[in-house]
Structures are given as C-alpha cells and as structure tokens.
C-alpha cells in the first residue's frame, strides 16, 4: 500500500509553504487549535519609490491595475538620520501612542508590519481601525508590509520561545531586511530604516544586531517640535519602573482573571454589565445586570475598583450586611479631593480623610434607620471586560500645578479635570503646563494601575482658551462624539455636478421623472421655525367632491440624491443625524443638498416623496397613497406667520383656507391620539436669543407653543405611522422602525411615592392611558407650574425611544409608548436623520419605484445602522442641551436676577432647584446657605430638609422657592454655569 504520509516534505516547493498554528478559545470556553497554511513569496514589494527592482514585480489586481508605491523617495530626516528615514514601529508603539502617528507635523513614511497590524487587531479594534484609516490616507504614506508572507522575513517560532519574543524577532528581521534591501539601491542616498519600540529589551537587541532602533521618547526628542509631542507619549512607558514597586503599595484589589470571570458569569455568581456613575456622587455607581430587575449599587472607591463610567465590568454581589441605601448626599470629587498632590501619590492614604468622613456619615445615617430603611444590594467590581475609554475634554486643575511647573519646561505632573463629572481626575505628565493652563485640552486615559489612585493619561491637543466660543463648541462636539470635520472630497464628489444650478428637468421624458407624479399645481406650503433652511416637509389640503378632504404631506426626496453605499451615504450613516447647537449646525449631509437641492424651498420645483390621504371631515383616514412626486411650494411660513394668517379673518385665499382645514383636522387627530393614551410630556425648553451681529447671547426665552406647531406635528406623526405600516407590510423582517418601550413600573416608584407623601396624589402607571390621566390629575390649583414639574419628572422616568429593525422584536414590542401608536417610524426628516433616509429607500422599494438595494435588506447591516443612529441621536440631544446650558450661562454673565424655582430633588446636604424661566436646574448645598454650614436634619420619608443654627429654613420636595440666579465660573470644571442662592422659601 502506498504511503500517504509526508506528502509535503517530498514537494520541491515545501520551503515556500509554512503553517501558522495557534490556539484560541471560543466564547463557550472551548479551546481550539487552528492550523493555517501560509504561502511564502518573494514578490511582495518594499513599496519605496526608490526601489526599481520591486517596481518591476509590483503585483496587480484582477483588473490589471498595479498597486501604487507608497513610501516617498525623499523622506524627511532628523538630527540623527539626516539622510531621511522610514519608521517601523512595533505593536506597543501603536498601542500606546496612536495619537502621535496621527500628527500632521511628523510621522510620515511609516512601514506597518503585518505582524504589528495583527497584534494590534487582537489587542484593540478601535486602534486597529484608526491605523487602517491611516494606511488609506494618501498624504501620511503608511505602507502595510506583509512580512509574514515574504520568504525572507518569515520567522518560525522556535522551541520554547514566547509569542511576544517571536513577534519582536519578526519585527527586527523585517527591519534588517528593509535595511539590506534598500542598501542595494544604487546611486542615491538611502533612507535609514528605524525601528520604534518602547520595549527596552527589543531596542537593545536591535542595536546589537546593528539595526537603527529608538525608543519613542528618544525619537520624538529629535523632531522639531519634539517637546510638545513628548507629552503625547503615555505614562505606561515607565511600566517597568512601576512593576518594581512593592506589592504592598497596591491601592486597589486585583482584577479576577478573564477565565474566572467568564465561569463566574456563566454560573450566575458574578454579573456583567455597564458601569454607570451617579451624576451627583462620584463615589456611587450603579450597574444594571440581566439577573436582577433593579440595578445594583457600587459604593466607594475600593468597590468601584478603577472602573470608569461606561466600562463593561463584572461585579460580585456583596454580603447582605454591606447592603446600603443609595446615598442622599451630594459628593463631588473636586470638593473632596481638592488639595491632593499629583506627585506625591504614594505617601497618601488610599481613601482620603475627607472621603472617609463622608462615608462615616453615610453609615450613621443608614444604621440609625435600619428598622424601616430598605437597604439595596451592593456589589463590587471584580474585573473589567472592556474599557470604554475615549478621549476626554478637560482642563488642568490650577491647584495641582507646582510653582516651578508654571515657568520652566520641566516635566510636571498635574491633574486634568474632565468636563464630564462622571469621569475621575486624570493624572497627566506634561512639559507645557504654562501653556496649557486655562485652556481646554483633549486627553486620553492610558492606564489605571493598581498602585495609582487616579488613572494616568496623556495630552492629545489643545482646543483653545477656556470660555472662548470656538474652544467650548469644539469641546462640546468632542465630548459628545459628534463628527464635525468638513466633508471629505470623496463625499463632495457624490453631489450633482450642476451644483446650485440643479433644477428639476423640464422635460417629462427625463429619467428623473420616471414614475413621478406631477403635483406642481397643488397649493403646497411649508411651516417651520423662523430661519429654517433645511425644509424637510411641506403640506397641502383640498376639498374633494364627496365632502372629504385630500391631505398631502410632502417630504424632501433625499434618497434621489444620496444613493446607497456611496461615500456620501457612508458618511451620513456614520453621522446619523444633524446636530443643532445654539449657534451652529453640524450637518448630516453637505450644505448643497440640505439647504438647497433637497430643501423644499418656496417658488421652485423640487423632487418630493409624498404621502396623500383621503380624510373625512372627522379626520378618519379613508385611503392613503405613497408616491414620488414633483412639487412647487407656494410659500414657506414660519410658525408665527402661519398663525397670524390663520387668525386673520380677512385672509380668504385658497392657501389660507387650506391651512385652516389642516388645522381643524389636526386638532381632531390630536384628540384621537390623546384618547388612545398618548402622553403629553414635558421638558424645560428654552431658546437663547442672540444679538444678530456679534451672535452673543443676550436673553433667554421659554419656547412658546402655537397651534401651527401642533398642526405640523400631527401630520408628521400620521405620515410616520402610515409609512411604518407600509414598510412593515413589505419587509416584515427588515423594516426600520422606532419603538418606545413601556417603562418598567419600578421607574415610577420614587415619583409615585413622592406624590403620595407630599400631595396625596396617586400616580397609576398600568398603561400609558392611565398614566396620562393621572398626570392630568396632578394639579395644584395655587401653582399652575406644578403639573409641568410633575410631567418633567415623569419624563425622566421614561425609557428612551429607539430605532430597531422589525425582525429583531415581536410585533407587540413595536409599540410606541409615548405616542400610543402600535407601530412607528421616522420618515419626515430625511435631511437631518439617517433613519428617515433608510425609511425612504424602503418605502420606494415597497411601492416598486426602485429595486430593493441589498443594504436596505441586509438585516445585519440594518441592525448596525440602528445601533449607531440610536447612539448618535442621543448624543446629538445631549450636545444640543449642553450647548443651550453653556449659552444660558453666557447670557446671564454679569447679571443677577431673582426667579421662582421649584425643588425637584432633595438630599441630606442639599437640594436641586429647577428654574422654569431659564430651563435650568442647579444644586444648592447646605454650605451655600450661610457662611458657616448650618446643621440639618433630613427626613427621607417625608422628603423634608430642616436646617438649624446659622440659618433656619425648611425645604420640602415640590416646594416653590425664590432664588437668586447669577453666573459663576466653576473653578474646577472650568464651565461657566449658573449659581443659585436661596432667597426665601415663601
């Protein structure tokens, strides 16, 4: 019998085939051994424009296009390498200092080795993606060299060699090959090939082998503005030194091993979830885990154990004797740890004296009431599955700067206080303290060692002076992860070539007219806020011979201009939504489309997507129709203009009449919605008035409500619901819809109890109808605002609405709780929301206007899109609110006014007051009440805080108070915010 063994060794090409063998563990904990073939070759080019030899054998793709060469023939030089140099960083260099490589002043001509890319991908996917986008950028000249596939640079792992050692060896081998290879280029000065590594051992070995190698810090020092860049090299560089510390120095408990956590979670002993920090108390976190209906508390620095807000962590439930009530105290980090010294970290106690004191009071309070209190289960963090660290905006804490640091260029350690109060102070080492003081800066967290009280980070860049408009706006955008860079050229290339001259084709034979209905003769108009440029929607109505009405909603046909999967579509899907700030709008689509070609401007013809209903005078829908169309809007009204026109009896033209019809119908629609149990919720909304020329904020106004606003809203809701039904019918698995989950009953527990105790009111939450009714009953005849206050508080107990793909939920889950609609989607604002654009494409496919594009049908893709736009939507809202808050602060600057406010939350050492006039809320602490902090007794059962001593007052929940509102620059967060002082309690 013939032998089947060793077929490979007999092969003459055996030397060119290698195997990559590795072991991986699956999610279920299985261990798999994977063997993969590797074909070694010699036609992988070095990609240097100097090298003629490689150019000759450059590979080409299936279409015969050769791959372009990347590395410059005259790369930049440094002091040590005046002849120019190519960089070969190792994995650690990218892991620790990706920001450096993204600099524009340096780091060009970089060779990214395959093994480095591979390791980076395994360690951090976001960093990998950033590196990939660097390799695609044309001016940075990053080249990926597939060293593992090139025969000469392939390095088999030796017996007893660790994977890391092998990889380091592979990097050195590649560097040496590059050096030798380039040395063969004749007649020109050859650039040096420099290995960058933070591993001292690796650098030493490379130098032994006669290669150019340098640590990141040494290399950066050679560069022109090296001093500045040096700050961007993170702390972990000195890892070796930290390791030498005695184990007794560790302040935090060690994390469990990954496998221990995994088995723990699997067996139900440990729990996994996202860690959230309380906005009022930086030492209190909570975590919602699937196993329990209510979230678990995590109290104290030690139990939080280096988790940062947003991290995916694993927790262990603490024994019952350690269960506590959630804190009723406000604890702010800066107040307690104000005078810490960033340098002398070790000499201090881990839990500072003040922190301890705060904790004692807490214990006293809990124990005094153990009889009637309801301690909540607490937990401690035992490990972090995934860090959710991003770049944080903050500023340097003035008090942490030493005198010498303010002058010289000596490296100094300071604290950075992030804008986001939930993020702990970050320890930062920098040489440019003097320059950075008083600026908004961007930093990242690098690590949080067990031995370090605060996380360690490094400086990324400065945004500008504190409280300048540009810096604060950019800070806000960064903080909420809004993509604000100008649209790249690839996106602009997708715009119609005619630019602003684009017109609806005159000839009806044009392909643009295909299957489009001509609605140019209808009396269509749009109603929007003053100054609105991106007009998404327009309306019309006309009586029909049978006594019914025809009502049409016309939405900008954005999907005509934004084709699926081109660069513009991709960009829009990433941005997800347009972000409105007080003085700025960050568009989802380029201006040309948003404010001109798509915008349903008056007096010009525009493409639209129309929803047309036939309605009875009682606003019952008899029939509906969807069609692409061409319209010509007769007028663009503002809400106010439209209102005036409707109210003015003398106006009897057809357009005004049709608006009146719409208004009458909309009122009936609204009544129907309310009867079905739609909630009318409330949030304190204000508008900042700007001076027209300097655009400085001058005043704050609460938003007025007009009938015409509700007119537009009702028809948009109706259009959204009709479209949702239609696309769900056509695509039961993949329709993009919006749902609003019913809030869990427990969310309302506190509010219901508060209402019961303070006002004897019942809040029933069985259904949205019951809730709406009971909210209607929450009135205080003496205080008209009380009802709004309760609505504001109820709104905060709600879930947030979300986009989803219909296949991921069962039909009953589609329900929109707030609108009391069975099914809902977003269709009416495609210029500013990506979800609407997707709905447009699905509807176009559903009415067989165009073929179904695969991206509209692929469920995986849609789910990813939904996930992204949910996050973006939320961030856009938060950014908008933060922007208003900033401008309210600016508008109040230097003014002091007395206003009425309402107590909406109460702690044992302070209370939160909402001032409806400005839509702001602020905390008033006990120590703010008088020079010496008054004594206080807090009754959690009746939500009453009574003070004695230096000032005697009694504050209750829902109470109306008089406060003086002034502006104040918060020294610690650097934000200008409002400060409230209690004037009287009435």
């Amino acid at each position: 019998m013939a032998s089947l063994k060793r077929s490979l060794d007999a092969d003459p090409l055996a030397a060119n085939i290698s195997n990559k063998i590795y072991v991986r563990s699956t999610k279920s904990g299985k261990v798999q051994k994977i063997v993969r073939e590797v074909y070694l070759r010699q036609d992988i080019p070095c990609s240097s424009k100097l090298c003629q030899k490689c150019l000759a054998l450059a590979p080409s793709d299936a279409a015969g296009r050769p791959i372009p060469f990347v590395l410059s023939d005259a790369p930049a030089g440094t002091k040590v390498f005046p002849q120019g140099h190519y960089l070969v960083p190792d994995t650690n260099a990218f892991l620790t200092a990706m920001d450096l490589f993204e600099q524009e002043s340096a780091f060009y001509d970089v060779i990214v080795l395959q093994i480095v890319l591979e390791e980076l991908r395994n360690r951090s996917l976001p960093l990998y993606n950033r590196l990939i986008s660097l390799t695609k950028s044309e001016d940075k000249r990053f080249y990926v060299f597939f060293n593992e596939f090139r025969l000469e640079t392939h390095v088999p792992r030796q017996e007893g060699e660790s994977v890391n050692d092998r990889n380091d060896r592979a990097v050195r081998k590649a560097v040496s090959w590059y050096s030798d290879h380039l040395a063969r280029v004749k007649g020109k000065t050859v650039p040096a090939v420099v290995m960058l590594s933070n591993d001292r051992d690796n650098v030493r070995k490379a130098k032994q082998e006669g290669l150019n190698a340098s640590s990141l810090a040494d290399y950066v020092k050679q560069l022109k503005d090296g001093e500045k860049l040096l700050d961007m090299i993170p702390e972990t560089e000195d890892r070796d030194m930290i390791k030498e510390k005695k184990p007794g120095d560790n302040l935090y408990p060690e994390y469990f091993s990954m496998s221990k956590m995994m088995t723990g979670v699997k067996s139900g002993l440990l729990h996994q979830g996202i860690f959230n920090v309380s906005p009022y108390n930086y030492l209190e976190g909570s975590i919602r885990v699937p196993a329990f209906p209510k979230s678990l508390l995590i109290l104290g620095r030690e139990n939080i154990n280096r988790a940062v807000d947003g991290d995916l962590v694993v927790v262990e439930v603490l024994p019952k004797d350690q269960w506590k009530e959630p804190s009723t105290q406000v604890i702010e980090e800066d107040a307690i740890t104000k005078n810490e010294n960033p340098d002398a970290e070790d000499s201090e106690d881990f839990v500072s004296e003040k922190e301890r004191k705060a904790l004692q009071e807490e214990v006293k309070r809990t124990q005094s009431k153990t009889t009637e209190g309801h301690p909540q289960p607490t937990a401690r963090v035992v490990g972090v599955i995934k860090r959710n660290w991003r770049q944080y905006v903050g500023h340097i804490d003035q008090s942490s700067v030493s005198q010498s640091g303010q002058q010289g260029r000596k490296q100094d350690t300071v604290f950075v206080i992030p804008m986001d109060k939930k993020i702990p102070k970050i320890r930062l080492r920098t040489r440019q303290v003097a320059e950075l003081l008083g600026k908004r800066i961007l930093v990242t967290i690098d690590a949080w060692e067990r031995s370090s009280r605060h996380p360690v980070g490094h400086f990324v860049r400065s945004l500008g002076e504190l409280e300048t408009k540009a810096a604060e706006t950019e800070a806000l955008l960064l903080e909420y992860d809004v993509q604000y860079r100008p649209f790249p050229k690839t996106v602009l290339d997708c715009l119609p070539k005619e630019g602003h001259d684009w017109k609806v084709p005159a000839s009806m034979d044009d392909p643009g007219w295909k299957d489009r209905q001509d609605l140019r003769d209808l009396l269509i108009c749009s109603i929007d806020p003053i100054g609105c440029q991106d007009i998404d929607d327009a309306l019309h109505s006309r009586p029909l011979p049978n006594g019914n009405f025809e009502v049409g909603v016309h939405i900008a046909d954005v999907s005509h201009f934004v084709k699926p999967n081109n660069a513009m579509d991709m960009e829009a899907s990433i941005r997800g939504t347009t972000v409105y700030l007080v003085d700025k709008r960050i568009d989802m689509l380029p201006m040309l489309l948003g404010t001109d070609l798509c915008s349903l401007k008056p007096y010009v013809e525009r493409y639209a997507f129309s929803v047309i209903w036939e309605m009875t005078p009682d606003a019952d829908v008899v029939g509906s129709k969807f069609t692409k169309s061409v319209i010509k809007s007769r007028e663009a009204f503002s809400y106010e203009q439209a209102q005036l026109r409707v109210d003015d009896e003398s106006q009897q033209d057809d357009l005004t009449k049709s608006i009146r019809t719409l208004l009458a119908l909309s009122k009936k629609l609204k009544q129907k919605r309310l009867d079905a149990g739609a909630l009318s919720l409330s949030s304190p909304e204000v508008k900042v008035q700007m001076e027209s020329e300097t655009s400085d904020p001058i005043d704050v106004k609460t938003k007025e409500l007009l009938d015409t606003m509700s007119l537009v809203e009702e028809f948009m809701l109706l259009a959204n619901t009709s479209v949702a039904r239609r696309i769900y019918e056509a695509f039961p698995q993949t329709a993009i819809l919006r749902r609003h989950g019913a809030p869990p009953k427990t969310n309302f527990d506190e509010l219901a109890n508060q209402l019961k105790v303070k006002r004897g009111l019942d809040l029933s939450v069985e259904s949205s109808r019951a809730l709406a009714d009971s909210l209607d009953r929450c009135v205080d005849p003496k205080e008209p605002f009380f009802n709004t206050l309760v609505r504001i508080m109820a709104t905060r107990c709600m879930m947030s609405a979300e986009y989803f793909c219909s296949g991921t939920q069962a039909y009953p889950e589609f329900r929109h709780y707030g609108l009391a609609s069975e099914i809902y989607t977003h269709f009416t604002s495609p210029i500013r929301r990506y979800a609407d654009l997707m709905a447009h494409r699905q509807l176009a496919a559903a009415i067989e206007y165009e073929a179904v594009h695969p991206s509209v049908r692929s469920r995986g893709r849609l789910e990813a899109v939904c996930k992204n736009i949910n996050v973006r939507h939320r961030n856009a809202q938060l950014a908008g609110r933060a922007s208003i808050a900033y401008y309210v602060g600016q508008a109040l600057r230097g003014k002091a006014t007395e206003e009425d406010g309402f107590v909406m939350k109460i702690f044992s050492n302070g209370f939160v007051v909402l001032v409806p006039r400005f839509g702001i809320e602020s905390l008033i602490r006990l120590r703010d009440l008088a020079e010496t902090e008054p004594q206080a007794t807090f009754d959690a059962e009746t939500y009453t805080l009574e003070t004695s001593g230096s000032r005697e007052i009694k504050v209750e929940l829902f109470q109306k108070v008089r406060v003086r509102v002034t502006d104040q620059k918060d020294e610690t967060t650097g934000k200008r915010g409002v400060k409230m002082e209690l004037v009287s309690t009435y």
Partner: protein
C-alpha cells in the same frame, strides 16, 4: 489570531499569502489502496480526502437511502437498469474540522454533496457500457479547510481513472470567490481562486467543475449571496482554475503510469498503446 479577509486591498494578498489567481498546493496520489478497484488520495491545501471506487459490479442489495446515486436510467427496483448506476457515499471524519463534531448519516449537506458528485461523474463515465451494474464511490474526508466539494470531485475523478472505468474526460473542480462581502457591495472587488475555510466563511463563493480542457461546465454550485455583476468574473476565474487542476490531475496520472511501467507492474503496450508515456 490572524487578520481577516478585509485586509486584501492593503497589499493584494489573501489571508494565507496567496494572490487572487493562485491555487493552493494540490497534492494527489492514485492507487493508494492495493485491494481496491480504484483509489486515490488528494490534498488541496489542508483539505484532505481519500477515495475508493468499487465496480462496476453486480448491483448488491440496496441499502438505505443515504447514498447519492445517479445514472441507471429507467430505475426499476432490483437494479434492472440499462446503464450502470453511480453510487456515492461520503464519510466526513469527526476529527476533520476544528470542532470535533459528528455528522449523522442523514446530514442534508452531505447528501447533497453525494448527489452532486454522483451526477457530475455519471455524466463523464461511460455508464452505458455497463448495464445492470453499479459503480460505488466511497469518499472519506480526513481534514477540511475549504473547497471540500471541489476536492471530493477531483478525488473521485482520479479514483475512477485508477479503476479503469472508461470516461469522456477528467472532471476537474475548484472554487472561486470574491474579495469583498455581499453587503459591502464593492464595485471593484477582485475575484478569488480556490477559497480556504476562512475565506469561505467570510466571503461569497461558488464551486465549479469543468469537463477536461473544454469550457463545458459540469457542476456549478453557489450557496452564498453575491451580486450578479461579480458572477461573471468569478466564473471565469473558476473555469480557469479548473484547467489548472486538470493539468495537475493529468500529471499525477501520467506519473503513476510511468512508474508502473518502470516497475514492470504493467507492460508497455498492453492497453496503453495510444497513451504516450515518456
């Protein structure tokens, strides 16, 4: 863990270091089982299969329905066929893939592969020469790393050649794919030849088999979603790959023949008159 298929565009290199139009290493042997009528062993990369052909023989008692069969026109029970019946039986070893899992006899994917192989070979074998008989092809999968169906067809072809069953030509098979996923909808995606397991998991692909040196397609199986516009390129690359595979199979057969003459197992000229053995 190595990179995934999305890095192709960075260096026009695939996950295992091949270019878009390169086959993996193919190694094949025939007459590996002395006792069998025909046998072969074939490796395409790490996909390893063994094949044993028995027949043409008198039809035995019919076993259960879990063999793929083809040919045997006018199938009356009891094996009274005008043509020989081709029966294919595939056994996938539990250890052949990373996850040790046992595939039952009734596994639908295996059944489908059996019938595909049976149909492909029945079209090339001269089954009309052997009425009332059956040809049994037993395939054993020892190791899997993508392109399994193609490897099975190739191994079966070789074993049939070894068994000396008259046939029109080689049925040579290979797979073709595309460098980006269906959802990515990348207009400039390159076609790929001979997918390994990782590529098969992440990218769209098809299996194609052709008859000899012609462009006649004997098998075309595509189980993944792919844009029609890419299909032509994929098919062209696949057909081209099949020709390369045919070359390799032919070389293996000739090599074996030459060795057998050298060793005196067969005399030159006995039935090999028209075959030029150098």
């Amino acid at each position: 863990m190595p990179l995934d298929t999305s890095t192709y565009s960075l260096g026009l290199l695939r996950v295992d270091g091949r270019r878009w139009n390169e086959l993996r290493r193919i190694h094949a042997q025939i007459r590996t089982q002395a006792a069998a009528d025909g046998s072969s062993y074939l490796e395409m990369g790490h996909t390893k299969v063994m094949c044993v052909v028995t027949g043409p023989t008198e039809p035995g008692p019919r076993r259960g329905g879990n063999v793929g069969s083809a040919g045997g026109a006018g199938a009356a029970s009891g094996g009274q066929h005008k043509d020989a019946e081709v029966l294919v039986n595939i056994v996938i070893a539990g250890f052949s893939s990373v996850d040790r899992k046992r595939r039952g006899k009734g596994d639908k994917r295996t059944l489908e592969m059996q019938s595909t192989v049976a149909n492909a070979l029945a079209a090339s074998l001269h089954i009309h020469l052997f009425p009332h008989s059956q040809i049994t092809i037993s395939l054993h999968v020892l190791s899997q790393d993508g392109s399994l169906l193609a490897a099975l067809i190739n191994a079966a072809t070789l074993a049939c050649v070894d068994a000396g069953i008259p046939m029109t030509d080689y049925v040579a098979a290979c797979t073709a794919g595309s460098t980006s996923t269906y959802a990515a909808n990348d207009e400039s995606a390159d076609p790929l030849l001979d997918l390994n397991h990782q590529e098969e998991q992440e990218l769209p692909g098809l299996t194609v088999a052709t008859l000899g040196e012609t462009d006649r397609v004997a098998v075309l199986v595509c189980e993944s979603r792919v844009q029609v516009s890419r299909l032509e390129g994929m098919l062209a690359v696949g057909v081209d790959g099949c020709k390369q595979v045919r070359e390799i199979l032919d070389r293996v057969v000739r090599e074996k023949g030459r060795k057998m003459i050298q060793e005196g197992t067969v005399e030159r000229g006995t039935g090999l008159n028209d075959m030029d053995v150098d």
